[in-house]
């Protein structure tokens, strides 16, 4: 082939974008990876189980934290405090129990022996809710304002469920701590 074949200035690429676009995306990926690592590290301290919360009460102090445990059926009392709904109950985990006053309506699936995850603070005084004496009864209670229910991965339709639930509510459940008569 003959003719003019000297190199010419290259045509700009059709979709060429500013180099900062790639930089921003690279930065976003780095931030995502960093967030992943932070989440994994902090995830190990997401909540204190009841036994850990009791054991580390002095270290926790008046700091807001998240508590996890299973409500004890016979201890659950719903009432009002200054015209606002509260639910008082004791929960247990790892052989320790904690008296709880939750401010607000309980979660839809809140029930005995189904673990709950609560946000709140330690209060150094016994819970004052009419009809609730508390099982821990150690001069402290956990004041909560956010409740999540930690349901399991059993998806069962049991005809005897209502009967079991009634028994559970009556305190005849498998909870380690038994309510006093």
């Amino acid at each position: 082939m003959t003719g003019e074949l000297t190199p010419r200035a290259p045509r700009p690429l059709r979709s060429r974008k500013a180099p900062w676009v790639a930089l921003v995306i690279a930065l976003a990926v780095v931030v995502a990876v960093a967030a992943l690592i932070v989440n994994l590290v902090e995830g190990s301290l997401y909540f204190y189980n009841a036994d850990e919360a009791v054991e580390e009460r002095s270290d926790i102090g008046d700091r807001r934290f998240t508590l996890q445990g299973s409500p004890i059926g016979c201890s659950i009392v719903e009432g009002f405090s200054d015209d606002a709904p509260v639910v008082a109950f004791s929960l247990s985990f790892g052989g320790s129990s904690v008296d709880v006053v939750h401010h607000g309506d309980p979660a839809d699936l809140f029930q005995a022996d189904v673990p709950v995850v609560l946000d709140g603070v330690w209060v150094e005084q016994p819970p004052v809710v009419e009809g609730f004496s508390g099982i821990a009864n150690d001069g402290w209670h956990f004041s909560s304002d956010r409740m999540r229910v930690k349901h399991d991965n059993d998806y069962i339709n049991d005809d005897e469920y209502d009967e079991r639930l009634a028994l559970s509510d009556a305190g005849a459940d498998s909870t380690e701590v038994v309510c006093e008569a």
Binding site: A35, G43, Y46
Partner: protein, 250 residues
């Protein structure tokens, strides 16, 4: 290019598409009228038939993207690069659906749409953001090979997150709000389990159907770019030939 060459449908995709439509219908009937309600969650449990299959197919899409990314980095195969890109696009839809259905399911059962302290929730969100970043990188433009290489690295980083998401409920067993695996560790009614498996099969068929279409679109785009380049070269050669012919005639 002929009309056939731009049509991404085929007998196989039409059969797959029909199977998906029939499967979705069966899933709706089974999910709403066949499977029993749960003792604790009542009707909210039916969200499992969309949520779990979406999560499964997110994993499958990411595995495919990771395979395509490795093959691009290793063999510089454009075919595998298009596979990785196509799978990531479908994966971001499944991942978004997983987050959305999980959030909707969480409200009546956990009593919250979202919890920043839960490892599985946050790692899944990070996966979603990484997939969005992957697609943004793909659309940022620049040298085709360089974009493919950068995307492959991001794709592999995103895929590395998948085992963490999947195992998080085991590794943080007593520290997570999310329940353990429903399929491997759960206790499901027979019809609930059957409907769940139907959901996974239907979603898998949809994934294959969407992958074939998206791959063919990606491959046609690649071919179109190659044709554009050939055309530009031919035009340049024609210009040069015309100029030299003109000079010879003068």
């Amino acid at each position: 290019m002929s009309a056939d060459a731009v049509n991404t449908g085929s007998r196989t995709t039409r059969l797959l598409g029909s199977a998906v439509l029939v499967g979705v219908l069966a899933l709706i009937l089974l999910g709403f009228f066949g499977a029993p309600e749960d003792d604790e969650q009542a009707d909210a449990v039916r969200m499992i038939f969309v949520h779990v299959p979406s999560a499964f197919l997110t994993y499958a899409a990411l595995a495919t993207t990771a395979l395509g990314s490795v093959m691009w980095l290793w063999k510089r195969s454009r075919w595998w690069d298009v596979v990785a890109h196509s799978s990531a696009e479908i994966g971001v839809i499944f991942c978004g659906l997983t987050l959305f259905t999980g959030s909707v399911w969480g409200r009546p059962t956990w009593n919250t749409y979202w919890d920043w302290g839960d490892v599985r929730l946050v790692t899944t969100l990070i996966l979603f953001l990484m997939l969005v970043g992957y697609l943004a990188l793909r659309s940022a433009g620049g040298d085709e090979n360089a974009v493919a290489t950068r995307a492959a690295v991001v794709g592999l980083l995103a895929a590395a997150n998948v085992p963490i998401i999947n195992r998080s409920v085991e590794w943080w067993a007593n520290r997570t709000l999310h329940q353990k695996s429903s399929l491997t560790d759960g206790n499901l009614e027979d019809l609930t389990l059957f409907t769940l498996v139907v959901g996974i099969v239907v979603w898998a068929l949809f994934f294959v159907w969407a992958m074939i279409h998206r791959f063919r679109i990606g491959w046609l785009e690649h071919q179109l770019q190659a044709v554009d380049l050939e055309t530009a070269l031919a035009q340049r050669r024609a210009e040069a030939t015309a100029e030299s012919t003109g000079e010879a005639n003068q």
